[in-house]
């Protein structure tokens, strides 16, 4: 009896050990790939195998990072880009929630406007950016509008699809309890779409960042997009690559943040 119990316990610890070991190895390989990449880059640049004027190298990148951090310019540019992205993101989320609700309320209106939305969504928004500069000027408004234009149309379409695919019987339930249309929206449609809203947010935070960088390419004197375009024109490749690296980190952090919120909410939905 005792013997069986211990062996069961051993099998369990063995299993847990195996899983943990596997997770550890995955993380280890991920880090190794990154280090190998940095090492190869540095090595080939130092020995003239690649041209470090064009391709830059990790040590130069780090030196630029430290010097820009010291004079405060890096944080300034990051701050501008983040600010524009978040404003755009908030506008996109609120705007598409509002529009999707309106379309849910008035489905004739949604049918009328649907082809226009589909066209606007399919349009490459970078084509719009030069027009926006002419109309709105080279300023932050243009950049934020640019960010919104990239994300909002798809976001409205997705949200609306989520709204109308709510279980019809749940709506019927609210009606049998003598609930109004507004109560259907508040008690069933919106809450049952929370997971959908979160996944749309995850897509849109990335799209807003894209929109801001496009806008900054064309219409800015500050921000990471500006740093990239200015750096490439003056052959300061370390500025360009550093900005791209920071954009990667920002995108990852914003995504992780939303994923974290999603996990918290997943317990309830």
């Amino acid at each position: 009896m005792m013997k069986t119990k211990t062996s069961v316990k051993n099998a369990q610890t063995e299993y847990v050990r195996k899983i943990k070991r596997r997770q550890f190895l995955i993380r280890l390989y991920q880090i190794l790939i990154f280090i190998t990449f940095l090492f190869l880059w540095e090595y080939t640049a130092k020995h003239g195998i690649i041209n470090d004027f064009i391709f830059c190298c990790p040590s130069k990148l780090f030196a630029t990072f430290v010097s820009m951090l010291k004079d405060g310019s890096l944080l300034h540019h990051i701050g501008i880009t983040l600010y524009e992205t978040l404003i755009g993101f908030v506008i996109v989320i609120l705007g598409s929630l509002g529009m999707a609700t309106l379309f849910w309320w008035n489905q004739t209106l949604s049918k009328v406007l649907e082809p226009y939305l589909v066209i606007l969504n399919a349009l490459p928004k970078s084509a719009l950016a030069p027009v926006l500069i002419v109309w709105l000027g080279a300023n932050k408004t243009t950049i934020i509008v640019c960010a919104c234009s990239v994300a909002i149309f798809g976001s409205i379409l997705n949200l609306y699809t989520g709204f109308i695919s709510v279980d019809a019987d749940k709506i019927k339930l609210i009606k049998t309890l003598k609930g109004s249309r507004f109560q259907c929206l508040k008690l069933v449609v919106l809450p049952s779409n929370v997971p959908n809203i979160i996944s749309i947010m995850k897509v849109n935070i990335g799209l807003c960042l894209v929109g801001v960088v496009i806008g900054e390419f064309l219409a800015a004197r500050e921000g990471l997009g500006y740093l990239i375009i200015y750096g490439s024109q003056t052959f300061k490749m370390s500025n360009v690559l550093l900005s791209i690296l920071i954009l990667c980190v920002i995108a990852m952090l914003l995504y992780t943040l939303l994923q974290h919120i999603e996990k918290k909410l997943a317990e309830y939905f």
Binding site: T176, K178, P191
Partner: protein, 263 residues
Amino acid sequence: MKKLGIPLLEFFNVNYSYHTISCETQTLKDISFKLNKNEFISFVGPSGCGKTTLLNLTAGLLPLSSGAIRINGKPREESDVNIGYMLQKDHLLEWRTIYRNLTLGLEIQKKKDASHIEMMEELLKTYGLWDFRNAYPRQLSGGMRQRAALIRTLALSPEILLLDEPFSALDYQTRLNVSNDIGSIIKEKGISTLLVTHDLAEAISMADKVIVLSKRPGTIKSIIPIEFGDNRRTPESARNAPEFNKYYNQIWEAIHDENEDFS
């Protein structure tokens, strides 16, 4: 003031059709019947004969094509009688606790006062869900969820209860238990009930009358009063009563005729 002698619910020559681009389909034809206070009527009939439509019409979810429905002697639209409707699935909202699911109706109708809450909590305790009041629906078994859905409906103290195959999603064992529970609550509270079901045994065991509907467009084929010697019957005792089989065969025959016509 309720006038004595007036049935709680009356259908007068009710017709219902729905329209699609290609055609008009009649689902109910010339339906007339009465539901008295404290009475339990079961509807049986082939699939698509408009049984659910009949409940939807009573609840005011659909407009009549012609005819009239009177509740307590008044036209349906003017009546203030509370009608409870239980659907096939429980449709508990997954993001609300059981307790907050059960107050949903009270919340919607702005009746979250002490007396209604107290009554609801009493029901929760009676049906063994009190300990689960802070749980989420997915943590409950099928039978418990259906009981919760019943309490949600009863919390509004309905005078008429509409049951649309409320047990069909449950396994056989649970189904018997839940229908027993619901049968006894309905008797005890004196709620008048319309039940729609495919299960003849269920229809007979709970009802005072069984109405057999024909295939589409649904018309009333026969009204069969169910009477057992024992007047303190429960659905369970009804199933074991000697008359049970007689009724079962009688109703089976009525439906069977229908299928003959169909082929």
